[in-house]
C-alpha cells in the first residue's frame, strides 16, 4: 500500500487543463488545411492526382478539399509546386453537417451545440456506446485514450457504457463493413430516443481509403442520421474531445 501511495506521488498530477488551456500539438501535426487560392495555379492538377482518397476536386478552376475524405497524408502538400496547400496546427475540426467538411474558401463552420432541449438531456451527462465497424483500432485507440487521466473524460460528464440500452448515442468508427452493417443498425435501434450519432475518422464519415470497396458502405452515409463529424485518420484525441465538448455546449 505504501509503495502504491509512493508511486502515486511520484507519477504526479497529469490531467491537462483543457479546454481552459489549449493543448500543445506536435511540431509536425497536420490540422485544419489551408488553401491559398491566389497561389494555386489553376491549370495544374498535381494535388488531385496524388490524393489517395479523391478528397480534392476542382470545379471551374477552384479547389475544394473534402475533409471527410482527407486522411491528412500531406501528399498534396508535397506535390504542389506553388505552396497553395498547407496543414495548420489547428486541431479543431468537428462539424455538424457533412457539407461543412467541404473546404473551399477557408471559412470553416465548427460544430455547434445541440438545441436547448437536447442540451438539457445530454449536457450534463452523456453516455455513449462505441461501435467499431471496420475501424483499424487507431480511431478506437485515440477514443479510448480519452478515458485516461490525461484527458479524464469523466470530468465533463461523458462516459462510454457497455450497453446501448444505457446509452444516449453511438460513437462510430470504421468504414461500416458489410459484415458489421446489421450489428451497427441493431445497436442503433437498441439505443433509446432521443439519441445522438457521432462519426469519428475519415472511414466512418466517407469510407476514407476504403471508399468504393464493395466490402464496405463508404462510412455511415445515409444509414444513420449523424449529429457530429470528427475528421482525421485518426483524429487526434484533442480533436475528438473538442468535438464532443462542442456538441454538448461545453466549448462554444
Amino acid at each position: 500500500m505504501l509503495k502504491i501511495i509512493h508511486a502515486r506521488i511520484n507519477q504526479g498530477y497529469r490531467t491537462s487543463d483543457f479546454p481552459a488551456v489549449p493543448p500543445v500539438m506536435p511540431e509536425l501535426f497536420g490540422g485544419l488545411p489551408e488553401l491559398e487560392k491566389d497561389k494555386c495555379n489553376h491549370s495544374c492538377s498535381d494535388c488531385i492526382k496524388v490524393c489517395p482518397t479523391g478528397a480534392i476536386v476542382k470545379t471551374n478552376g477552384s479547389l475544394t478539399l473534402d475533409l471527410g475524405l482527407c486522411i491528412f497524408c500531406h501528399a498534396c502538400v508535397e506535390a504542389c509546386s506553388y505552396q497553395a496547400l498547407s496543414f495548420s496546427q489547428d486541431y479543431r475540426l468537428s462539424v455538424n453537417k457533412r457539407e461543412d467538411l467541404l473546404l473551399s474558401n477557408n471559412t470553416f463552420h465548427l460544430a455547434k451545440a445541440v438545441d436547448d432541449k437536447a442540451k438539457r438531456i445530454f449536457g450534463h451527462s452523456l453516455k455513449l456506446r462505441q461501435v467499431s465497424a471496420g475501424g483499424c483500432n487507431a480511431c478506437e485507440g485515440d477514443t479510448n485514450v480519452l478515458n485516461t487521466l490525461v484527458f479524464d473524460l469523466g470530468r465533463f460528464g461523458i462516459q462510454f457504457v457497455a450497453s446501448p440500452r444505457h446509452a444516449d448515442g453511438l460513437l462510430i468508427t470504421g468504414p461500416v463493413t458489410e459484415n458489421m452493417k446489421l450489428a451497427l443498425l441493431k445497436t442503433y435501434d437498441a439505443v433509446p430516443a432521443p439519441k445522438l450519432v457521432i462519426a469519428v475518422g475519415a472511414c466512418a464519415i466517407s469510407g476514407g481509403i476504403y471508399s468504393g470497396h464493395p466490402e464496405t458502405n463508404n462510412g455511415i452515409g445515409d444509414l444513420l442520421p449523424v449529429d457530429l463529424y470528427i475528421p482525421g485518420c485518426p483524429p487526434h484525441p484533442y480533436t475528438i474531445l473538442d468535438g464532443l465538448l462542442r456538441l454538448i455546449g461545453k466549448i462554444l
Partner: protein
C-alpha cells in the same frame, strides 16, 4: 530441391526458377519440413490460368532462411491439417478465398465470411447468396449442466468486433470458439489490382495499431522487388519507430491487464505513459500511430537533431516511470494470484499450432524475427530475445515488461549509431516475375508479407499474414478449463488484432 527456392528475409526470387511440384510432392515436402522443425509463415492461393497456384513459405528458425514451395490445384487437394495442425487456419482461408476444398480438413468453415477474390463461384447458386457473418456451425458440448454463452460482435469496451462462443459447465469453460470477419474491408482484393496511391495507406491501416510494422514489411518487399537497399539512416529510424510502437503497445497492454483485474494504480499510470510513447512517435511524423513515416525506398522525412536529443532525454525518464508503475504488479500478491497459472498454453501446443510472437516466447519457444531473420538495422544492432517458461498470463505480461527494457536500450543504441546521410532513395520499377517475402517482428509478433509481380513487373498478388492469424486459435485454447470471468484477462494478454486478421 534446387537452391533457388531458398531466400532470406527481405529478398526476392525469380518465379520461373521456382519449380511447380505435384500436389503429392508439395504435401510430402511440407510435412517433412515441419517434422524436422520448420514452420509455415505463409500459405495461400493465387490465380494461375484456370487453376489456383498454392504457395507455401516455410521458415527454418535455426538456419534463418525461408523456403518457397509451389503447386497448382483445380478444385481440391488432400488437407494438410490432420498431419500439420498449424495449416488449419490457412486451409480454411484457402477454401473461403478460392473455393479450393482441402479434403479431410477436420473443421472446415469460413474464417472471415468474405466473397471469393476475383474468381467466380463454381457453384452458381452461391454466387447470389448473401453471406451472413457469424452464421455457421459451432462446436457444441451437450449435457445436463452445459450452457452456451455468446458474446459479440459488439463488445462492452471500445474495441473491435468479433464473436465468441463459450461452452461452459458452470463457470468453467470447456471450449471457446472464435468467429471473426466483421472487420473485413477487402484489402487483399484491392491489392491484387496493383499498386496505387492507396497502397501504403492500406498497409498503415491493416492493423492501425501496427502501422509501422506493416508498412515496414511492405517497404521491404517493394525494395526487394526493385533491387535496392534503403539508406542506412532510414533503416535505423525505421527500427526506432518499430520499437517505439512496441513500447506504446506493451505499456498500454500492461495497464489494460491491470485494469481487467481491477488494479487501478498501474492501469492509470500506464494509460498516461502509453500516450507519452505515442507522442514520441508523433515527433517523427506528426501522427501518434506513425502514419506517413515509412515509404518504399526509405522514410518520407528525416528526423531533426532536436527530436533525437528529445528522445535521448525523455526515454530514460519514461522508462523509470513505467518501471515504477509495473513493479507494483509484481509486488502485489492479489495481482499475482490473478496472473499466475491462468490462460496457460502448453509448449507443445505452441509448436504444433505455429503460435508466434509474445505468446510463443511466453511458453519458452524462442521465436523472434529480429534475431532469427534479422533485417535492416537489426542486422547490426542486437535485440535480445526474451523467453519465459510458464505460458500463462503472468508470462505474457512479464515478456512485455522485459521487452520494454530491451526496446529502450535498443533505441538509445540506435540513436547513437545514427550518422548524417540521405533517408530516401527513388524506387526503380519492380522486377518482372518475382516473388518477395518480408518478415517483421512487430509488437504482437511475426508479420509476413509476400509480394508477386507479373511478366511486366506489375504487382499481381499480395499476401498479408498478421501475427493474429496464427494466434487467435491459441487464445481459444488458453481458455480451456478456465473460469469464464478470466476471459477478458486472457484476451488482453494476447491482445490480438481483429482487422489485421480480417483484412
Amino acid at each position: 530441391m534446387s537452391a533457388n527456392t531458398y531466400l532470406y528475409n527481405g529478398q526476392a526470387l525469380t518465379l520461373t526458377d521456382l519449380p511447380v511440384s505435384s500436389t503429392a510432392e508439395f504435401r510430402s515436402e511440407i510435412i517433412e519440413h515441419i517434422n524436422s522443425g520448420s514452420r509455415i509463415v505463409s500459405f495461400f492461393g493465387m490465380p494461375d490460368k484456370d487453376e489456383i497456384a498454392l504457395i507455401a513459405v516455410l521458415a527454418n528458425d535455426t538456419q534463418g532462411n525461408l523456403e518457397v514451395l509451389r503447386t497448382v490445384v483445380r478444385d481440391s487437394y488432400t488437407s494438410l491439417t490432420p498431419e500439420v495442425p498449424q495449416a488449419h487456419w490457412f486451409e480454411r482461408e484457402l477454401a473461403e478465398q478460392w473455393g479450393i476444398h482441402p479434403e479431410g480438413h477436420p473443421w472446415l468453415k469460413p474464417i472471415r465470411f468474405q466473397q471469393f477474390i476475383n474468381r467466380k463461384h463454381s457453384n452458381e447458386n452461391s454466387e447470389t447468396a448473401t453471406i451472413k457473418p457469424g452464421v455457421t456451425d459451432y462446436f457444441k458440448v451437450l449435457g445436463d449442466e452445459i450452457h452456451e454463452v455468446a458474446v459479440g460482435p459488439v463488445h462492452a469496451g471500445i474495441i473491435e468486433p468479433g464473436h465468441f462462443r463459450f461452452q461452459c459447465q458452470g463457470e468453467n469453460v470447456l471450449h471457446l470458439e472464435i468467429e471473426l470477419g466483421y472487420q473485413h474491408r477487402g484489402i487483399e482484393s484491392a491489392l491484387a489490382k496493383g499498386l496505387n496511391q492507396r497502397t501504403i495507406h492500406y498497409m498503415e491501416t491493416l492493423a492501425g495499431d501496427t502501422s509501422i510494422g506493416h508498412s515496414m514489411a511492405y517497404a521491404m518487399n517493394m525494395e526487394a522487388l526493385s533491387g535496392i537497399v534503403p539508406p542506412y539512416r532510414s533503416q535505423i529510424i525505421r527500427a526506432i519507430a518499430l520499437e517505439l510502437e512496441r513500447l506504446a503497445n506493451h505499456t498500454g497492454d500492461l495497464g489494460a491487464l491491470a485494469n481487467d483485474i481491477g488494479f487501478l494504480p498501474t492501469a492509470s499510470f500506464c494509460g498516461r505513459l502509453r500516450g507519452d510513447f505515442l507522442n514520441l512517435t508523433a515527433q517523427f511524423c506528426g501522427n501518434r500511430f506513425g502514419r506517413n513515416l515509412l515509404y518504399p525506398g526509405g522514410i518520407r522525412r528525416d528526423i531533426s537533431e532536436n527530436t533525437i536529443s528529445h528522445l535521448q532525454k525523455q526515454l530514460p525518464i519514461l522508462l523509470s516511470s513505467v518501471n515504477e508503475a509495473i513493479n507494483l504488479l509484481w509486488e502485489t500478491p492479489s495481482v499475482m494470484a490473478r496472473f499466475e497459472n491462468i490462460g496457460t498454453i502448453s509448449h507443445e501446443d505452441i509448436i504444433s499450432l505455429g503460435i508466434v510472437g509474445m505468446p510463443a516466447r511466453a511458453g519458452n519457444v524462442r521465436r523472434d524475427v529480429r534475431c532469427d531473420y534479422p533485417w535492416g538495422a537489426y542486422m547490426f544492432l542486437e535485440s535480445p530475445t526474451v523467453t519465459m517458461q510458464t505460458g500463462d498470463v503472468y508470462a505474457r505480461a512479464s515478456i512485455r515488461w522485459f521487452e520494454i527494457q530491451n526496446s529502450v536500450a535498443f533505441i538509445l543504441k540506435a540513436l547513437a549509431a545514427l550518422t548524417p546521410g540521405p533517408v530516401r532513395e527513388e524506387l526503380p520499377p519492380l522486377g518482372a516475375d518475382k516473388l518477395a517475402v518480408s518478415m517483421v517482428e512487430a509488437w504482437r509478433g511475426e508479420i509476413c508479407h509476400v509480394a508477386i509481380t507479373d511478366s511486366s513487373g506489375k504487382l499481381k498478388h499480395y499476401k498479408v499474414t498478421d501475427p493474429s492469424f496464427h494466434n487467435w486459435f491459441g487464445l481459444a485454447l488458453s481458455l480451456r478449463n478456465q473460469q469464464i470471468s478470466d476471459f477478458p484477462l486472457c484476451n488482453k494478454s494476447f491482445n490480438l488484432s481483429y482487422c489485421g486478421h480480417d483484412l
